[in-house]
């Protein structure tokens, strides 16, 4: 039903840093996961990628940062353009060098390295000297004081949330112009979730970093994002400015959990078991 805003598929907005053009992704040569996804991230924008489990959010992000290869997946169709140049044929480290970095879903810290070493590996591609790196390190510690406390612990032994902070901090260490954030809020305490989004906004405003966030916490995502896409089983089923999406009735009910104007209770879940599927 309501496709309130027309999809800009294939028509890159003039000021887009990142344009994903109708990509198709296959895993293991047989499992088709993305069936033509297009999206674009404007310069200095924060774009949210929403969708149920298994919709293909992570896959989309990996397709952009070219990490699919490592999972025996491949982009069989379409193109990815970053800052005006195609990056779908580059190696992952070249993509990072150009300023586009991904924070992997599910932490993926280097378990045998300390938190600090983890953060420093983030600066691998940088060439601007130790002083600058040191300064950035301090900045990260200021963002996440918990990390400063644990800086000399092996990250494999830190708690889930600490690892998540470490992963985000590590990505920031590369001074990217674009960050692909995969479920940043997962496993973080509410306070920290808010802080993370504040940081995202701050980086966005002060340094002009663009963001593409895959997020399950729709509430938060739509609050901070400027634009949103909703994915379902490998297709974009809806997109539009965040404000618009927030007001959409379906989104409200199924993603934000607001029905009849008030928050639902989880106690009450059995009273409704109705699902929204755009692609029936």
């Amino acid at each position: 039903m309501s496709q309130a805003i027309p999809t800009p598929a294939g028509v890159p907005a003039p000021d887009a840093v990142l344009v994903v053009n109708n990509i198709e992704v296959i895993y293991d040569h047989v499992i088709l996961v993305l069936k033509g996804v297009s999206l674009s991230v404007p310069q200095g924008g924060i774009v949210a990628l929403l969708g149920a489990n298994g919709a293909g959010k992570t896959t989309t992000l990996k397709a952009i940062s070219n990490l699919l290869h490592a999972e025996r997946g491949e982009v069989t169709k379409g193109s990815v353009v970053f800052e005006g140049q195609r990056i779908d044929k580059l190696s992952p480290n070249q993509v990072v060098r150009r300023g586009c970095i991904q924070v992997l879903e599910g932490r993926h810290c280097f378990g045998h390295l300390t938190i600090e070493e983890n953060l420093l590996t983030g600066a691998f591609t940088r060439r601007d000297g130790n002083a600058a790196i040191k300064a950035d390190l301090e900045a990260i510690y200021d963002y996440f004081p918990r990390l400063r406390q644990r800086r000399h612990s092996m990250s494999g032994y830190t708690s889930g949330g600490e690892q998540q902070m470490c992963a985000i901090g590590r990505a920031m260490m590369s001074r990217p112009t674009m960050i692909l954030l995969d479920e940043p809020s997962m496993g973080l305490a509410p306070q920290v979730v808010e802080e993370i989004f504040e940081i995202v906004q701050k980086l966005n405003v002060t340094q002009g970093v663009s963001f593409l966030l895959a997020e399950q916490n729709t509430n938060m995502a739509l609050k901070y994002a400027t634009y949103g896409y909703i994915l379902e089983t490998g297709r974009v089923v809806m997109d539009g400015p965040a404000v618009g999406l927030r007001e959409n009735e379906d989104v409200k009910e199924f993603y934000l959990g607001v029905a009849d104007g008030s928050q639902k209770s989880f106690r009450n879940v059995k009273s409704y078991k109705r699902r929204k599927r755009w692609l029936a």
Binding site: A70, P92, L104, H108, C109, F110, H112, E117, L120, T125
Partner: protein, 316 residues
């Protein structure tokens, strides 16, 4: 019986200290040579989590190339440089053809791939250089010959110059590598890669570059090991078997530690020689083949990650 096991050997040690010293020295020398082979394994394991089965054949291949080139009339030093070049080409090829397509695969798969590489190198090496043993050109490479006999504790203790050279060269290599890997940004990246290929890719570490570096380093270490072993016996494909001895060394020292390789090598070398020399006779000798493994095994029961290995993280 108990006397034979527990007391007699020590009496022997005490009564002939010159032999004890000689045994210790032989053990140390063997240890250094084991360590050189183990070092090659460690470098690659450290940087990619790959257990490189081909390290043994790389030792043979490097030495064969060196000697083979020399036989073709290339001057020794030039042959050495060319061989280093060949090892570089090997590193690049391995990265392109084997490792790159297998990024992020389970360790055991990469292990298997290095086995394929072993097969290939055996065939290739024999095709080009033939299967007959060759003599190491130790003299042409200005490696010292001869030996020094010292009169110690009422007996002659013999120190071969080539062994001393091996010890010195091994220490140098290890020092250089240790500095390189701990003081540079590459060193950190290396450990990151070993932890997780995927995460390393995501932060922009170029796996290709890292792998070429470590395989090249391992190739050079293999060359040195090949020269030293070759000078001891000769250069033939049988040397490959000796490489197996690096396994208990690795296990004892920990797969990821450069100092571990050397310390492990020395421990294994010395205990193996002492064991064979003083206790081997009790069961008819030849216990050297498994003694190293039993020592490593007992040690592991106490410390499952080896002497210097990284802690095995068990969390849930």
């Amino acid at each position: 019986m108990l006397y034979n096991v527990l007391i007699d050997p020590f009496v022997m040690m005490g009564s002939a200290p010159d032999l004890l010293i000689q045994t210790l020295w032989e053990g140390l020398v063997a240890g250094v040579l084991y360590a050189l082979i183990a070092l090659g394994f460690v470098l690659i394991f450290k940087a990619s989590g790959v257990f490189n089965f081909a390290q043994g054949i790389m030792v043979v291949f490097a030495a064969l190339t060196l000697v083979g080139l020399h036989e073709m009339g290339v001057p020794a030093l030039l042959a050495l440089i060319l061989t280093i070049g060949v090892m570089f080409i090997l590193a690049v090829t391995v990265e392109r053809v084997v490792l790159r397509p297998l990024v992020n695969q389970p360790d055991i798969i990469l292990f298997m791939a290095t086995f394929g590489l072993t097969y290939f190198l055996i065939g290739f090496g024999e095709l080009i250089f033939g299967g007959n043993p060759k003599q190491m050109i130790a003299q042409e490479l200005y490696l010292p010959q001869g030996s020094t006999d010292l009169d110690l504790f009422g007996g002659l203790v013999r120190f071969q110059h080539i062994d001393i050279a091996a010890a010195v060269i091994a220490s140098l290599i290890i020092a250089v590598l240790a500095v390189f890997f701990s003081k540079t940004r590459i060193g950190r990246a290396l450990r990151a890669v070993a932890d997780s290929h995927k995460a390393a890719l995501s932060v922009g570490i170029s796996l290709g570059q890292i792998w070429v570096i470590v395989w090249f380093a391992a190739g050079i270490v293999a060359l040195v090991a090949g020269i030293m072993w070759g000078a001891r016996s000769d250069v033939s494909f049988a040397l490959q078997i000796v490489a197996l001895k690096a396994l208990p060394v690795l296990i004892l020292g920990g797969f990821t530690s450069i100092p571990g390789a050397i310390v492990g090598g020395l421990i294994i070398g010395v205990s193996e020689k002492l064991g064979e020399f003083y206790w081997g006779g009790l069961v008819g000798g030849g216990i050297e083949t498994w003694l190293a493994y039993i020592i490593a095994l007992l040690f592991l029961l106490y410390r499952p990650q080896g002497l210097f290995g990284e802690r095995i993280i068990e969390r849930i």
